[in-house]
Symmetry: C2
Subunit: 158 residues, 2 copies
DNA sequence: TATTGTTATACTCTATAACTATA
DNA sequence: TATAGTTATAGAGTATAACAATA
């Protein structure tokens, strides 16, 4: 998307009620804020997401990480390539099943993950600045229900 | 994104609180529903959006349409190419400024636009099915504020 | 000179198919 | 045979640079 700054202000009336359009532009604004916030660390939002999954799954395989993120295993290859080149992860064959690659954070990787999580939280905060706390809570819950409808009870919101 | 069906159900705990992740997956689910709904018409959601803008701006130029959609003018070229090939739009040089291409809907294009709008509304409806009406209203307003923050008064929501 | 459409090119994100090593 | 990782390739969606026609 072209930046259209300083006029990112232009909700086209005939599209402003279409959810797809709103999702795209809202997501794009969040991405811009997040990229900017993470830039000093040299990782993208997508790469940070990978780091967060690895941090939570300390000896996961590439396939395991990909599956948890909803990505293809071929996509994960270059993602890990890049992170390895940056020095934030290491990979080596699992001794107990040499088909698998175990992926672990380096100590620098742990630091990057910690700092990245904090920076991206700040970016989220400024992204959400136009909303009240109540609306933010509703938004989060709504997004969870819409993204993963079958994983929740249908206790509809108030 | 791989479909991961029937388990699109998998909100990874370490990512489920990240807005970027939720936006991506919610948007992806909406896109899937919309594509499926529009498939009989032979147009994508993106192409329908172009048709809607043209319908609203009956003698717009390619650049005008692109700008209104937040796209680049080079992106619009192939978008219009495809729509012209499908027979839903026509383009010709503006007699009063022959640098511009005027883009208009054909009669088939008007029909496709009308039907597409209805079908994609149905898709939105089933997408939103997990939410109450109240939450849906909050979501729509929140997305508008988040996507185009500077175009609204900062009357924060209740 | 500036603007519109176009072409060529490239980058990101993603997938499918096919290969290799291992099980 | 089946699985994990890899490579090659392709297809959306998008942008930048450069060019032609027109203003």
């Amino acid at each position: 998307m072209p930046d259209n700054s300083p006029e990112r202000l232009v909700p086209v009336p005939e599209l402003a009620d279409r959810l797809g359009y709103l999702f795209k532009h809202a997501h794009s604004r969040l991405s811009d804020l997040t990229s900017a916030a993470l830039a000093p660390l040299g990782v993208s939002g997508r790469q940070l997401a990978v780091l967060l999954v690895i941090a939570e799954e300390p000896s996961g395989s590439q396939l395991g990480i990909a599956t948890r993120m909803g990505l293809d295993r071929t996509t994960m290859v270059t993602l890990i390539d890049d992170l390895e080149r940056k020095g934030v992860v290491e990979r080596f064959p699992d001794p107990s099943d040499r088909r698998r690659n175990v992926v672990v954070l380096t100590s620098q990787g742990r630091k990057t993950t910690r700092q990245g999580a904090a920076l991206s939280e700040q970016a989220e905060k400024s992204f959400l600045e136009p909303l009240s706390e109540g609306d933010t809570a509703v938004l989060r819950r709504a997004l969870r229900l819409l993204a993963f409808p079958s994983s929740f009870r249908t206790r509809s919101a108030t």
